[in-house]
């Protein structure tokens, strides 16, 4: 297997982008990645996307991207793994370069959620239609059930979850691409509109349009394109029950733990070696579960991490310095790639006032469904 590097990144602003179409967003992010590497062409494209068919009635995004990028004849494939589609697209691109099959491969992610669709209904299709959705389950509802199970098992409180949102917005306020660049107080979070008890609006990631892209090539060719390549040390992925209903323990995201074990093993690293992480905080409780499943804190101690500053900029292990899904926004198919963009910028020392000092190794964890898929990549600045 060849060593693989990220040599270029691009992303659009995240938000309600009423003036931009799905294809506009895809092309903008991809052109950004190509330009930042000074690359003229590509060998292959993978695009992560959860549900363009339902959101805007458009499938077949691989060919669409190749066509609208004007790169004639290049193969394009859409990768779908619900909200983990972006991370899985990156994994596919990584495989194609590592295998020796292709040299320049684009991993992109895009979602256009604000175009009039029943967003709650579309997102719910990532859970189990027959077992859960039929009876009225929603995504926030499923994570609310995870939250209640975590509260029962570990004594986690609504206030603990609220500190995660306060931190997310403190970080996102500094991110020029974030959907919500503003601070929120603990009181704002705890008095925001109820969505699915015990989760309130400010415990939930928003509905977002956006795209992101990273360009990969073999590490031994990376210096042709950039002075600061970032090596992909590992890719680890796993699945769990599609339905939360069938999960043995609903308080712990077993899928995150399994994907982490695989990624750490491939990288030859332990949780203590990670300098910063972007994790899939689709809901505040998910970030708490991820702290534990990724081994950043002990099981049951995740609830204290955000309040105590452990995961803050300057803390022991800064998490979601970008603002996370909560403040940066969560265009579902783009999220996994946007996480990689953040980690790469950090490892290149290009993150400005959000820079984690001395960051050399970073982790990105992207999740699909109510914890049915998880994909983790570990990166190292070269």
């Amino acid at each position: 297997m060849r060593e693989v590097a990220v040599i270029g990144t691009g992303m659009t602003r995240f938000g309600e982008l009423w003036d931009s179409s799905l294809r506009d967003l895809s092309v903008e992010a991809a052109l950004g990645a190509l330009a930042s590497a000074g690359a003229e062409t590509l060998d292959s494209i993978y695009v992560g996307n959860m549900s363009a068919g339902q959101f805007v009635g458009q499938e077949h995004l691989g060919a669409l991207m190749a066509d609208y990028l004007g790169i004639k004849g290049v193969p394009g494939t859409r990768v779908e793994s619900a909200c983990a589609s972006g991370g899985m697209a990156l994994r596919s691109a990584f495989f194609e370069v590592a295998s020796g099959m292709s040299d320049l491969v684009l991993a992109a992610g895009v979602e256009k959620m604000n175009d009039g669709a029943d967003v709650t209904g579309v997102l719910a299709t990532a859970s189990d239609q027959e077992v859960e959705v039929y009876y009225g389950a929603t995504f926030p509802g499923l994570y609310a059930m995870i939250a209640r199970a975590h509260m029962e098992k570990y004594g986690t409180t609504v206030e603990d979850m609220s500190w995660v949102s306060v931190k997310a917005h403190r970080n996102g306020a500094k991110n020029p691409n974030a959907q919500f660049r503003r601070l929120v107080s603990l009181e704002d979070v705890m008095t925001s509109t109820m969505v699915a008890e015990p989760l309130r609006m400010l415990h939930c990631s928003p509905v977002t349009d956006g795209a992101a892209a990273v360009l990969l090539c073999p590490l031994d060719r990376a210096k042709e394109f950039t002075d600061r390549p970032v090596k992909i040390l590992a890719s680890g992925a796993a699945s769990s029950t599609l339905s939360l209903t069938h999960r043995k323990d609903m308080a712990d995201l077993d899928v995150v733990e399994l994907s982490a074990e695989r990624a750490y093993k491939m990288a030859g690293l332990t949780p203590g070696d990670i300098h910063l992480a972007e994790v899939h905080d689709c809901f505040a409780i998910a970030e708490i579960c991820c702290y534990e499943a990724l081994g950043f804190v002990e099981r049951g101690k995740g609830k204290d991490a955000a309040r105590d500053g452990v995961t803050d900029l300057g803390g022991k292990i800064p998490v979601n310095i970008s603002g996370g899904l909560k403040s940066k926004g969560h265009p579902v198919g783009a999220t996994g790639i946007a996480q990689a963009v953040t980690i790469v910028e950090q490892l290149r020392g290009e993150a400005g006032e959000s820079q984690v000092e001395g960051a050399r190794i970073g982790l990105a964890q992207n999740m699909g469904g109510s914890g049915a898929s998880s994909v983790i990549h570990i990166f190292q600045g070269v």
Binding site: G121, V131, Y134, Y135, G136, A137, M145, M194, H246
Partner: protein, 131 residues
């Protein structure tokens, strides 16, 4: 929902038919072809007791479009005495009172009306035990 799918799912939804693994005894609802515990493919039909205990729960305030008229409503994962778990609404009580440990009976109810096809979708909902 297309009507063939609705008809296909009637045994599970109307009669609470689940599958029991003839090898390890695990009961899964609805029935599957492969046991998720031991991968045995010999699965026998079993009808679940129409009762159980709430394992975890929520109250949905922002529903999908088809449930707009019902919000806020309680949903829970319920474990039956056979060890099967199913997700269902819990009704005929204060939604906020639906918490882990609550005992419920499962009753046959109208679940929703399918918007496109107009199919009336039936299934089970939980109610407080003994009511």
């Amino acid at each position: 929902m297309p009507s063939p799918r609705y008809i296909r799912e009637i045994p599970a939804r109307y009669r609470l038919e689940a599958g029991r693994c003839t090898e390890c005894g695990q009961v899964v609802y609805p029935a599957r072809k492969v046991c998720p515990s031991c991968r045995n493919q010999n699965i026998e039909k079993v009808r679940l007791s129409a009762k159980g205990t709430v394992v975890t729960s929520t109250v949905i305030h922002v529903p999908p479009d088809e449930f707009l008229n019902e919000a806020p409503y309680a949903m829970a994962v319920v474990e039956t005495p056979e060890g099967a778990r199913l997700m269902t609404q819990i009704v005929d009580c204060d939604p906020s009172a639906v918490l882990p440990g609550m005992l419920v009976d499962l009753e046959f109810r109208l679940v929703r009306e399918e918007k496109k096809s107009g199919i009336l979708c039936y299934g089970h909902k939980g109610v407080p035990a003994g009511t």
